[in-house]
Each structure stands twice: as C-alpha cells, then as structure tokens.
C-alpha cells in the first residue's frame, strides 16, 4: 500500500491547561475522502487547523507524504499542497467569479497587468472540468448559491494543484439539495486524485462520499473506521444520542425524499 498523503499519529494539542485534542490518529490517501465527524467542541477544528498550518501540534507526529512536518503558517501548508476551504471564508461575494478564482494568484501580462481574458477562459475551463456550468464568470460570486460558492472554492484549490483538500463544514449552512451538489464536487475532487478531508457533523453527508471516518468526542477519538467496517446506522448511532438522534432522523427523512 502506498504512502498516505497525510498521516497523523497520536497527535495532540493543548491550549494552556485545556486539552483540545489528544491521541488522534488517522490518514488521508490520494483519491480517498477522510471524514472527520464530531459535535461542536469535539476537536474537529483544532485538528484541521493543525493540518492547515494555523496551529501547531504539541504531541504526536504529523507526516506529509511520509515525512514529518510542522507548518508554521497557512501559506506554508498551501505551498506544500494542502488547501483549506473554510465555510465562511471561501470567497469575496462582491467580486466576480473569475476574479475570485484567481485572487492571490492572478494571471499577469506585461509583468503588471491583469490578464482578464486568460483569467476568464481558464476559470470557465477549470469550472467546466469540475462539472460546474457557469455561463457568465463575470457575475459576482454573491449571486451564486452557497453551494455553488463552495464549488468555486473547491475548483480553485483543485486548479492550483492542491494535493490535499480540507473542507470545513462545507454543507453546514446549506439546504439538502445544495449539500448534495457540494458532495458531488467533493467526489469529483476525490476522483481526480486528491486526498480530501471532509469535516462535518452530519453522518448522512459523510457516509455517501467517505472512505474513512474519524469520530471525535471532547477532543479524543471515539473511533476510526474504514467504510467496510461501519454502517450508516452505526455511524449515526455513535455520533448522536437521545434528543440529537431525533433531530437527525428528521434530517434523514429530508435526504431520502429529495
């Protein structure tokens, strides 16, 4: 079996005397989706912030392509090939789709001018390759739906050569249908050989696209399964209990009827 893109072994992080994360181990492989599930405060964001270079771990090992790493900034992680799409920070709403797409990596001509034609064409092509059909890449991203915005951000990460794509709650604020659209592009990114880390608190979103499931609870791992080892029902049962279960059942009905 080949080396995983990302492997964490017994990784941990403390903020002062608060243990935010301990003894977490999992891996992310090219062409696979690793889902990180857990309720609020379970340590999901601490884990992805370590992977994205925002924070540094203080226990355990973080291997990227087999070598131990410790990113000191998001830029460093990005340069290594780990792109993170945050739920609220994906795009600048008032800017056009193609300007968003190239923000921070603008195509230039004559050394200082923005190459608008190239930008528009490349954006259109890159989006089309991901199966996103936008006729007008000049429209402000704000006119797109929440799902489409996430998709533009995903397509951007794929286009700029990310090896690992971290998605922070990409479906959280979306309706059922929109969430489905985003999950389809998650699968697209996976099929193009990226390793995907999908953070969510919704097992119904995670199960259809995930290959590996890491469950967190109060900063500690509750379980780490491959798809063959766990069913959706079991995943849901582990995630939730009592009142939460009811709410999830309600959502489950929504998924089935759509």
């Amino acid at each position: 079996m080949s080396t995983p893109l990302i492997e964490v072994r017994n990784i941990g992080k403390t903020y002062g005397n608060v243990i935010a994360l301990r003894d977490v181990s999992t891996e992310v492989r090219a062409g696979e989706v690793t889902c990180v599930l857990g309720d609020n405060g379970a340590g999901k964001s601490t884990l992805i912030k370590i992977l994205a270079g925002v924070h540094q771990h203080d226990q355990g090992e973080f291997l990227f392509e087999g070598k131990p790493v410790r990113f000191s900034s998001p830029r460093e992680a990005l340069d290594a090939g780990i792109a993170t799409v945050y739920q609220d920070l994906a795009v600048v709403p008032l800017m056009s789709v193609w300007r968003n797409f190239f923000l921070g990596a603008e195509p230039k001509k004559f050394g200082f001018m923005l190459d608008g034609r190239k930008g528009r064409e490349t954006t259109k092509r890159a989006l089309a390759e991901m199966g996103i059909d936008l006729r007008d890449v000049e429209q402000p991203v704000g006119t797109l739906s929440g799902g489409e915005r996430q998709c533009v951000a995903i397509a951007r990460a794929v286009h700029f050569g990310a090896k690992v794509l971290i998605l922070d709650e990409p479906t959280a604020a979306l309706g059922v249908k929109q969430a489905g659209v985003v999950l389809r592009y998650v699968a697209q990114a996976r099929d193009r050989g990226l390793g995907v880390v999908l953070i969510t608190h919704n097992p119904h979103h995670a199960y259809p696209v995930g290959d590996r499931f890491l469950l967190l609870k109060r900063g500690a791992p509750l379980g780490n399964y491959t798809k063959a080892e766990i069913t959706l029902a079991e995943l849901t049962r582990q995630m939730a209990g009592g009142a939460e279960l009811e709410a999830l059942e309600h959502e489950l009905r929504g998924v089935q009827t759509s």
Binding site: P93, L94, K177
Partner: protein
C-alpha cells in the same frame, strides 16, 4: 427539509427552478448594466448638466464649463483616491486637512527656510506619504476602525497646521510664495492654464483626468486593483488566499495622502498663499463624491470613474446654483438629497449583487 436562512421570495423561487440555464439567461443584460457602480452617478450628472444648461445662460458657455470643471477638478483628484481607499474598506478623515498641511509645508519651507520650491514640494511629498503610511500602519497594527484613527490624525494635523504656522509666521497664513525660487517653473506644472477656443482652462483639470485614468486602470486592470476589491470586500478571505492585506491597505492610505499633496501643491502655487485652517470639512465632500460615484461605505465595491463623476456633479451643481442666482444655501439641500438617493441606489445594488445567499 431544513431551511437555515429565512428565505426571501426570490430564494424560494430559485429553489423551485431547478435547471441551471434558465437562471443564467435571466441574469444577462440588465444585471450587467446595473452592476456597473458608476451608472447612477452618470445618470445624475446628465440630469444636473441638462438642468443647468437649460435654466441658465452661462452654464454651457466655454467660460462656464471652465469654471465648473475647475471646481470639480481638485475635489475630483481627492475623490478618486478616497474612492480607492473606500473600496479597500477604509476611511480617511484626514484627507481634507492634508491638502492644507502639504501646502503649508511647501510654503513654509520655501518662504521661511528659503528652499527652492521644487525641493520644498519634494519634502512636502515625503511628509504626506509618511502621514499616509502612519495612518495605514496604525489602522492595521491596532485593528481599530480607520474612522477613529484618521479622526485622530485629522485633529492632530489641524492643530499642527495652526500651531506651527502661528509659531513661525505669527499669523495663521503663509504667503509670499511669488518671490520664491522655482515658483514659476513649479507653477507651470501645477497651476498654469491651457487654452481651448480662446478660453483658458486650469491645468488641474488635466491632473484630474490623468489621475482618474490611472486610478481606473489600476483598479480594473492590475492585480493590485484586484487586491483592493478583495481587502475591502472580505479581508479574511483575501488573506486566506494569500493577498498581502497590510501592504495593500497601507499603500491605499499613502495614495490618499499623495492626492492630498497634489491638491495642496495646486492650491499653494495658484494662490501663492495658504490659510492654516484650510481644508477642514472637505474630507466629507470627498467621501460624498465617492459614495455618489457608487462606492459602498462597507467597502469592496465602487469605481474611480464614478468618484470622478461624483465630483463633477458637485462642481456643476455648485457653480450652476451661482449661475442660476439662487442662494447658495440651496446647495446643501441638493447635496443632502443627492447623497441620500445615491446611498439608496447603492444599497439596492448591493442587495442585488449579494442576492442569493444560502
């Protein structure tokens, strides 16, 4: 089915029309026109122009045109810089008093220290860029609203202008520029006139047009322009994708200070003297012109050309009211109505641009 946001009518409409092409087709032309930030200002300018052309006789004569263009020019030079800064998501309340500070620095260095005017202008430019850089650095460093920080520099500069001028000259004005070395040649650049059809026009009009073209080009056609929109529209997103947020904003503050220096230089070389209390209150006019020109107060949207047109409306209305022999009190009423309608139109536009949020 979960609906996380309380959807408006438009949103639920969208949810039911499932096919993509239908949606895209409905966007097209109207949206593309309306999305231009300067459309409202251009229409407003046309109305003001036609109105005063019809009701007054001098408005459309060459000398009339020269007068209102001149009035609009110095305001316009500032308005486009302020517009860039506002698109970048910040305010500069010290911009008005900066036009006086730079003029005073130039005048004091030339008349009191006996420097060549060109050298005095250069040092004055350094001073302006330093103040602009300081504004930007402080805003970025502290994370305080630029409104407060530049209100501080506004008051500080105002005090410095009066205090230093009185200390050095014993009065609250600096004059005697005509006798200084280099006054004539520097005046050629900043305060001369050129003739069209026998009517002299101020060279400040050319500065205005030139700087508008440069600003519009930078904003739309360069990557720095892309960054200006990004740092104003969504600073954290911009930083997340690698836009140098701090550098971009500091440069924008320095641009405003630079524009203040240009206007200060035009004023001191044209009038050969400067009052220490000049420029106070102008900062709001710059912001108004930028807003009328389509800039959002919240940043991330706007246009340099729009701001130039906003200044043009100002100039035309101010001089038009004089030609119509109305009391100039009416100008403020006009200003208020214009500002309110501009903000209302802008707000509607932004809602349209951010329409579908789910």
């Amino acid at each position: 089915m979960t609906t996380p946001t309380s959807g408006s009518g438009q949103e639920s409409d969208r949810a039911t029309t499932s096919t993509k092409d239908e949606r895209v087709a409905s966007v097209s032309l109207t949206n593309r026109l309306i999305v231009r930030p300067e459309i409202g200002a251009a229409l407003g300018a046309l109305v003001v122009f036609l109105f005063f052309s019809v009701i007054t006789e001098q408005f459309l004569t060459l000398s009339g045109v020269a007068t209102w263009l001149d009035d609009a020019s110095t305001l316009g030079i500032m308005a486009i810089a302020v517009a860039l800064l506002m698109i970048g998501g910040e305010f500069d309340l010290s911009a008005g008093v900066m036009t006086a500070s730079t003029a005073l620095v130039t005048a004091l260095l030339a008349t009191q220290a006996g420097l060549n005017v060109w050298l005095a202008l250069l040092l004055s430019l350094v001073f302006a860029l330093a103040v602009g850089g300081f504004n930007g650095w402080l805003v970025m460093r502290t994370g305080l609203p630029s409104f407060i920080v530049t209100l501080g520099t506004f008051l500080a500069l105002q005090g410095l202008n009066l205090g230093v001028t009185r200390l050095v000259t014993g009065t609250v004005q600096v004059s005697g520029m005509r006798a200084t070395e280099g006054y004539e040649s520097a005046g050629m650049l900043f305060a001369s006139t050129f003739s069209i059809g026998g009517q002299p026009f101020r060279v400040s009009v050319l500065w205005w047009i030139l700087l508008t073209v440069i600003a519009a080009f930078v904003l739309v056609k360069t990557r720095f322009g892309n960054w200006i929109f990004a740092v104003g529209g969504a600073p954290t997103s911009a930083r997340a994708v690698g836009v140098p947020l701090v550098r971009t904003k500091i440069l924008l503050f320095m641009t405003t200070a630079f524009a203040g220096w240009v206007v200060g230089s035009i004023n001191i070389l044209r009038f050969a003297s400067v009052q220490a209390n000049q420029g106070i209150g102008l900062e709001l006019q710059f912001i108004i012109a930028a807003v009328v020109g389509g800039c959002l107060l919240t940043g991330g949207f706007g246009s340099a050309v729009g701001a130039a047109i906003g200044a043009l409306i100002f100039g035309m209305a101010r001089q038009g009211i004089v030609y119509a022999q109305w009391n100039s009190d009416w100008f403020m009423l006009f200003l208020g109505i214009m500002l309110l309608s501009a903000v209302l139109v802008n707000n509607a536009l932004r809602r349209r641009a951010e329409r579908v949020r789910r």
